[in-house]
């Protein structure tokens, strides 16, 4: 009962869970959560080095870029040009062209600016980047991003960091049905059942950060998410029973004493 592996831009992943590396108490805790999650791909941000304290702990000293796939993001970028500039630096820092594009709008809700996201995606693809794109749960824009050449479509389940779970399963399913590239729910997962719901809808993977980092026990939650993603995927592949309006006894009615 083998599942086909998740393939994103020619990279084969055994785990369908991708995790962020923000908001942890320390990089050490982050590394342990990553280990527990079984994830092979992590998102990272690009920021100025601290010149007054060059000996501050560095992410790459705790999480080995040779062992995990680093997915540099454009968090904090509000225009296509900002995103391109950030990812050019990321490509120089790491040497990877696989990136996560996110162009946000209002800091209050962190909803993606889809017009600018699409423009930025085209700029990046022209420069040879392979773009996994964070987007709204709009099937029309999701299709446009795929047609522009994005290698994975990553609709939000709920606002970033909200932990509200999948708010619009109808749209997520529509996006999945239309897409020929992997669809990964990015943002909004709060607990294990949310990840399972996303996978049961037929998503190819789930990306999360806060749900693990802000759990009381991040290491344990990372393990819970690992199992939830596997369970959700298995349930999707197994095909759920139809929902019925009335009860249907599980024991035979015949042969009663």
């Amino acid at each position: 009962m083998e599942d086909t592996p998740l393939i994103i831009a020619d990279r084969t992943l055994k785990s369908r869970l991708i995790i962020g590396t923000g908001k942890y108490e320390s990089y050490e805790q982050n590394a342990r959560a990553l280990e527990a999650s079984g994830a092979e791909m992590i998102t990272v941000a690009v920021r100025r080095v601290n010149l007054t304290d060059p000996d501050q702990p560095m992410l790459v000293d705790h999480i080995d870029p040779e062992k995990y796939i680093f997915l540099p993001n454009t968090a904090g970028c509000f225009t296509g040009e900002d995103a391109v500039r950030t990812l050019r630096l990321a490509r120089e820092a790491g040497g990877w062209d696989l990136v996560k594009l996110e162009v946000l709008s209002d800091p209050k809700h962190l909803y993606p600016d889809m017009e600018e996201t699409l423009r930025a995606a085209k700029l990046l693809i022209k420069e040879g980047f392979q773009v996994m794109v964070y987007c709204s749960d709009d099937p029309v824009y999701a299709k446009k991003l795929e047609e522009a050449g994005c290698c994975a479509i990553m609709p939000l389940g709920a606002p970033i960091g909200s932990g509200l779970g999948i708010q619009n399963p109808v749209n997520i399913r529509l996006i999945i049905e239309e897409a020929k590239v992997p669809v990964i729910v990015d943002a909004g997962v709060g607990t294990a059942s949310d990840a399972a719901v996303a996978m049961e809808l037929g998503c190819d993977g789930v990306l999360m950060n806060t749900a693990i980092a802000e759990a009381k026990d991040p290491i344990r939650m990372a393990s819970a998410m690992k199992h939830a993603v596997i369970a959700g995927r298995e349930a999707y592949l197994a095909g759920r029973m139809p929902k019925k309006r009335y009860a249907d006894p599980s024991s035979p009615l015949g042969g009663l004493i």
Binding site: T21, A45, V46, R48, L51, M58, R88, A90, E92, T210
Partner: protein
């Protein structure tokens, strides 16, 4: 000469290269990426790239993010 590094202006000796700057700042050359006046300078060119008065330098690294 004056250079603006990550938004802060500092004084450095004339003729400094990017490699020299990275060393002077106590940074690990393999763990950072450098932009000079909005253009990325590849690591292979750090040793030969001399900085000029007024250059705006950005030095970045990977940090935790979602």
């Amino acid at each position: 000469m004056k250079l603006t590094i990550n938004g802060e202006t500092q004084d450095f000796a004339d003729g400094l290269t990017i490699s020299g700057l990275v060393e002077a700042l106590g940074l690990h050359p393999k763990k950072v990426a450098i932009e000079r006046n909005m253009e990325v300078v590849p690591k292979s060119l750090h040793a030969e790239t001399r900085l000029s008065e007024g250059d705006r330098i950005e030095i970045v690294q990977f940090v935790g993010g979602g």
